[in-house]
């Protein structure tokens, strides 16, 4: 059983250790294989962890055997396990797809290092979720961020470099803000363990220091989350990154940032402090609504489809933020649920675009003319992903929107419900622009011939597409986990008791 006991740390250690191995091997295929194995090991760990905490229990792991408030604790509850599952599953899916795509987009001599960076990003993201120590969150955040700056800069377009630099500057500012926030908390409580923080904070909550810490953390996490109006780094970063990096980051990075927000705001500061004493909920609500509307509107005018999806991500983050802002269990459920569902749809869409890049070398709208008939399976995946983004039943997008609007209507806030639905209509417009070009405009005679993407790409894309529909019909896992995770976060404020 000792092996199972170490799962919380193994899930992070395996990709972390695999990264240097990739560099040492320095052979593209082997590196890919190592990365794939590491990702699947993490996925396995995540599934095992989720099955252990599904009943609402919490796994606590003392790193190096040091007891909790002094040593670093890894702490996995239902929400954490759920996010771990999202991240590792997306990593596994993306890596399945990666081989051909990476060989096509990255110079051969850099492929091994590319996978190393990818694994570091994965380890960082998993670490953020697994750890129960506030400072550790910062460290893992920086590990994943530094790795993603490197990953983004490997895009073929030189604009990727500039995008990565912008992201580096804004990401570092965000992380530093988080560091300051954690510092303030430490100043007041003398502890960094999240559990401990949650217990000690209420006693000192009514001080300006704690409020300042709260503010710094909000802005810092907001930057990482790309919450409107702190989203400026995101569109270019996603647009010019290599295809699989866009897919991976879009599906996981912002989700993990949202997790951090939930963890800090609801888990550590507590529901009462965050959502009732501070005007946090109102700020989030306004920003969420603005994010939904502005993100969707700007997406409509994009010429680069990847950029369009990036702006759509800003809007989708708005939905999640709105869910938290509703400040009820139902709202948080909707946010957590959309985390999962959005990972599925954006993963599928970005991977499908990766296949387009592989065959076409471009994702400009005009270049996609007639592609529906030349790459039928790829574009069919875009259709389903797009419908999911709009929120058409029976896709996951519909389920998210349903829960979100129901949560809004519980308060009787029907204007917000309208905003969500109008967001769907805007999504309809930008998705349809792409499909119209792909299906109704003939491929120019001068354009070079294209053929369907290879099977090694289509299978992961379609796995995600099928997941989009499957989890839109059989919602027990996603909704069940989200509901219970939200109840744990909201109900047993500030945090569930240890086992």
């Amino acid at each position: 059983m000792s092996f199972l006991e170490h799962l919380p740390v193994l899930i992070v250690i395996v990709p972390l250790m695999a990264a240097p191995i990739c560099v040492l091997l320095d052979r593209p295929r082997l590196a890919w294989l190592v990365a794939l194995i590491a990702a699947f090991s993490s996925l396995f760990c995540a599934i095992a962890l989720l099955s252990q905490v599904l009943d609402g229990s919490v796994i606590s792991y003392e790193l190096g055997g040091w007891a909790a408030p002094w040593g670093i604790e890894y702490r996995i509850d239902l929400l954490g396990a759920f996010v771990l599952l999202i991240v590792s599953a997306m990593a596994a899916a993306v890596l399945d797809f990666a081989k051909a795509s990476v060989e096509h987009e990255i110079p051969t001599d850099r492929i091994a290092r590319f996978y190393a960076a990818f694994l570091l990003a994965l380890a960082g993201l998993l670490g953020i979720v697994a750890t129960g120590d506030a400072f550790n969150v910062f460290v893992f955040l920086e590990i994943s961020s530094l790795a993603s700056y490197a990953l983004i800069s490997m895009g073929r377009d030189r604009r990727a470099l500039n995008a990565a630099f912008q992201y580096l500057v804004m990401g570092t500012i965000g992380a530093t803000f988080i560091l300051i926030g954690i510092g303030f908390l430490y100043m007041m409580t003398g502890t960094l363990n999240m559990q401990d923080l949650a217990e000690r904070l209420p006693a000192v909550a009514d001080t300006n220091t704690v409020r300042a810490g709260f503010a710094f953390l909000t802005v810092g996490i907001g930057l990482k989350l790309a919450m409107f109006p702190l989203h400026l780094w995101l569109p270019n970063a996603y647009a010019y990154a290599p295809s699989i990096v866009s897919a991976f980051l879009a599906a996981t990075a912002t989700k993990v940032a949202l997790y951090v927000m939930l963890r800090f705001m609801l888990g550590i500061f507590g529901v009462d402090f965050s959502l009732h004493e501070m005007p946090f909920a109102w700020i989030l609500m306004v920003l969420g609504v603005l994010g939904i509307l502005s993100g969707s509107l700007v997406a409509i005018y994009q010429d680069n489809v990847k950029r369009m999806l990036a702006y759509s991500s800003v809007a989708q983050i708005g939905y999640m933020v709105l869910g938290i802002a509703i400040a009820t269990t139902a709202g948080v459920t909707a946010a957590v649920l959309h985390m999962f569902n959005h990972a599925l749809m954006k993963g599928a869409l970005f991977l499908a675009l990766g296949a387009v890049v592989y065959r076409l070398g471009s994702v400009r709208l005009n270049d996609l003319s007639g592609l529906g008939w030349h790459m039928p399976w790829t574009m069919a995946a875009v259709v389903v992903g797009g419908l999911s983004l709009i929120g058409v039943p029976p896709t996951v997008g519909f389920i998210s929107k349903w829960y979100l609007v129901i949560a809004v209507l519980e308060h009787g806030w029907w204007p917000l419900a309208l905003v969500v639905l109008i967001g769907s209509v805007l999504a309809l417009i930008y998705v349809w622009r792409v499909l119209e070009v792909a299906y109704l405009r003939p491929r120019p005679a001068s354009a070079p011939p294209v053929s369907e993407a290879p099977l090694s790409m289509l299978i992961p894309v379609w796995l995600l597409v099928i997941a989009n529909i499957y989890f839109g019909i059989a919602t027990h896992l996603s909704v069940g986990s989200a509901e219970r995770a939200a109840a744990l976060l909201m109900g047993t404020a500030p945090m569930g008791g240890a086992q």
Partner: protein, 142 residues
Amino acid sequence: MNGLPGLYNDFIAIFLMMAGFYVVISQGNLVKKLVGLGLFQTSVFIFYISMGKVAGGNAPILTDGVEVYSNPLPHVLILTAIVVGVATTAVGLALVVRIQEAYGTVEEDDIQAQDDAEEWPDDTAQDSSKDTGPDANGSARS
């Protein structure tokens, strides 16, 4: 040691932070931006380190006759943060080198101008239909 003089560490930290932040925002040169970013991070290190200092406390080494020790934990934390900061600067500089190779400049405005020059004629040449609206690049870049 109450009041203003006692908090001078904090004021220095705040000053450094704002200075760094200002440099990041105002400078168009990417290297200078990184310098500002480094300053910004360093201010937080000072903030942490002064937080750990206990008035009248000694270095946290067990010695006879010393009762009050400074808190070593923030110092240890900041060691990690410094490593992170160094790594960030390294990655940032590496990016600047590659930007210099790709664009031949490290001035943000020049880079922007080159990108625009690449993007817009491209658009007008390819795009005869009216479907495509104006690209919202401007809003996407800080």
